[in-house]
């Protein structure tokens, strides 16, 4: 075989997976077991001391989950990954490695409402303080940096309006501040955007969305880009200082460019416990095999639906970065040339009541709180996903009271347009 690097679709099918050494099974087996036997006492001690590669207990690692981890690491261009029970769990595990009580992190104001809520309330009780910045104004990130800043968090394609974030500009701010840039790449998937190529140090996903893709399994994943030097200035003691849990091992020194993924596994997942079920890992892996095909169809359908809505008399505005007239179209051309994703919002001239009426009349679109399913989905963010925010914050995050969010599936686009037409028309 040539030295030619394999393409994205080949990695989506093969990376991390090999025929099972024992049985020859070609599909990745579901290792539905809590624990793994040791060869002898010395082997057990070596595994517990992080001195040997191998399996101990599924809360620390599992062979099915490991295939998923390597596959997503390969698709994102990272050095290693760690799969956990959900995207929210992934965010807790990441920040636990980076922040001490009293520290701060800067987050883009345009985020999934659940993340805004987690950062504002749950993390406050850990003493992790979020400072908000405006992704449309890069200088607001610069102004938010203080000596206590430990990380910057953004979404590549931001929920709910599908706006595109200038990852490179914000990575420059992060580099200058000496902190890692964390990018939630859930709405893009690595097929549309690979944030590491644009300066991200850590990538996080809700696997529940486009990667799994079928709306059947929760999961989250953390990808280590292997780009950040954790040793400088003692700012990240979880990585740079001797760990008492592991007899004084220093993770960066021992694991080099995948030390962050190891820290998330052996200090985060092991001690906080949000393990991913191997069955879910199997379902998500199966989904990833068709990620390129699905994303092409999702984007093609989304563009057609956005164009239809933009031309409809009952629609006040459409926010989809794939439309040439959209505010984020230039950024979409730069960061997501294959397509601007399939989650976007629009607003109706009839306001809130018209939105409620539309949702009730749709026959194919499902009214539920998820995105990135094969099925097309609809929701009213102001009363659901973003309901915990006050009115001003709703508008700032793109979830004003007149806004409806769509997640476009892989059905025939003519049927989606016909469903919207009948619901808008009457």
């Amino acid at each position: 075989m040539s030295d030619r690097p394999p393409g994205f679709s080949t990695l989506a099918v093969h990376a991390g997976a090999q025929p099972d050494p024992t049985t020859g099974a070609r599909a990745t087996p579901i290792y539905q077991t809590t624990s793994f036997v040791f060869n002898d006492a010395d082997h057990a001690a070596s595994l517990f001391g992080l001195q040997a590669f191998g399996n101990i207990y599924t809360r620390i690692g599992n062979p099915t989950n490991a295939v998923l981890e390597e596959r997503v690491a390969a698709l994102e261009g990272g050095t290693a990954a760690l799969a956990v029970a959900s995207g929210h769990a992934a965010q807790v595990v990441i920040l636990q490695q980076l922040l001490q009580p009293g520290d701060e992190f800067i987050a883009a104001r345009k985020l999934y409402g659940g993340s805004i809520n987690q950062f504002t309330h749950a993390f406050k009780s850990f003493g992790w303080n979020v400072v908000w910045a405006d992704p449309d104004d890069i200088s607001s990130f610069e102004r938010a940096v203080t000596p206590r800043t430990k990380a910057i968090f953004i979404e590549s394609i931001a929920n709910p309006a599908g706006s595109i974030t200038d990852i490179e500009a914000i990575s420059t701010v992060a580099r200058k501040a000496g902190v890692p840039l964390i990018v939630d790449n859930t709405l893009a998937s690595p097929y549309l955007i690979r944030p590491i190529d644009h300066g991200a140090d850590i990538v996080v996903h809700s696997l529940t969305k486009f990667l799994g893709g079928h709306g059947n399994s929760l999961g989250g994943i953390i990808v280590d880009a292997g780009t950040f030097d954790w040793s400088t200035g003692g700012k990240y003691p979880m990585l740079s200082e001797p760990r008492p849990e592991y007899h004084g091992i220093r993770l960066q020194e021992t694991f080099g460019n995948f030390a962050f993924a190891i820290a998330c596994r052996v200090l985060g997942l092991r001690d906080l416990g949000p393990a991913l079920s191997p069955f879910n890992a199997f379902m998500i892996l199966t989904g990833i095999e068709t990620l390129p095909l699905r994303m092409q169809k999702h984007c093609e359908n989304a563009k057609a639906v956005a164009e239809f809505l933009a031309g409809h008399p009952a629609v006040a505005s459409v926010s989809y970065a794939g439309l040439p007239s959209d505010k984020y179209n230039q950024l979409a051309r730069k960061y997501a040339p294959k397509g601007a994703g399939a989650v976007f919002t629009f607003s109706l001239k009839g306001g809130y009541d018209a939105g409620v009426n539309l949702v009730s009349k749709l026959q194919l679109f499902s009214h539920l709180a998820n995105v990135g399913d094969t099925r097309s989905l609809v929701i009213h963010p102001a009363s659901t996903t973003h309901s915990q925010l006050d009115d001003a914050a709703k508008v700032k995050s793109g979830a004003g009271p007149d806004v409806v969010r769509l997640s476009i599936g892989i059905e025939d686009k003519e049927d989606l347009i016909a469903d919207l037409e009948q619901a808008l028309g009457a």
């Binding site: 090999q18 050494p21 060869n39 001391g49 290693a80 190529d197």
Partner: protein, 194 residues
């Protein structure tokens, strides 16, 4: 040799051909990376020689400590240096006085000295910097995939079931996999700044 990103075949060729490895800076403390890299490589069948002047008279996993490279008293294929970048040059200079010369000089994760590397390469010695042979062995055998690490290899062939103490095959039929170019670039930038 481009020391920012090594081709898999270069690393595979080294790990498949060397039999004896002298580890400079090997530690008897069982939580030090040099200790468990030494142990791992010994378990995989390499003839390991611990070099540490502070522990002469004792042994490491049954192998007697030797004070310096010059004191080994027999040919050695590879020298694995577990020292900071600032302590690399004297070790390489001593290695260049050995007869026969070692075939490979390997500097551990975090250690890089381009001038020392150039000196060794000028007399035909292969050099690897800022890598760990244990990690590279685990990566090319795909054993490290248990840890969710991007092995950067793909294969549709069934691997032998690993058993205790066996020498894992590094000759898996594999093609290049996912790249980690961003990490290589970051390491290069760090070297250029220092």
């Amino acid at each position: 040799m481009n020391h920012d990103a090594y081709p898999d075949n270069y690393i595979r060729g080294i790990l498949n051909s060397v039999k004896s490895i002298a580890m400079v800076g090997a530690s008897p403390v069982n939580v030090r990376p040099s200790y468990f890299a030494f142990k791992y490589l010994a378990q995989r069948g390499y003839d390991m020689i611990p070099i540490n002047p502070g522990h002469v008279g004792k042994d490491l996993l049954g192998k007697p400590f030797v004070a310096s490279l010059s004191d080994i008293g027999r040919p050695v294929d590879m020298i694995d240096i577990f020292r900071n970048s600032s302590h690399i040059m004297p070790v390489v200079e001593e290695a260049l006085t050995l007869d026969p010369l070692p075939k490979v000089i390997w500097m551990q994760l975090g250690a890089r000295d381009d001038a020392a590397a150039a000196k060794a390469e000028s007399v035909g010695i292969k050099v690897v910097m800022n890598r760990c042979p244990k990690i590279e062995y685990g990566r090319l055998s795909s054993e490290i995939s248990w840890m969710g690490v991007n092995s950067r290899t793909l294969s549709s062939k069934r691997a032998p079931a690993p058993t205790q103490g066996m020498r894992l095959s590094l000759n898996r039929m594999s093609v290049g996999g996912g790249d980690t170019a961003a990490s290589d670039r970051a390491a290069k930038n760090k070297t250029e700044q220092s």
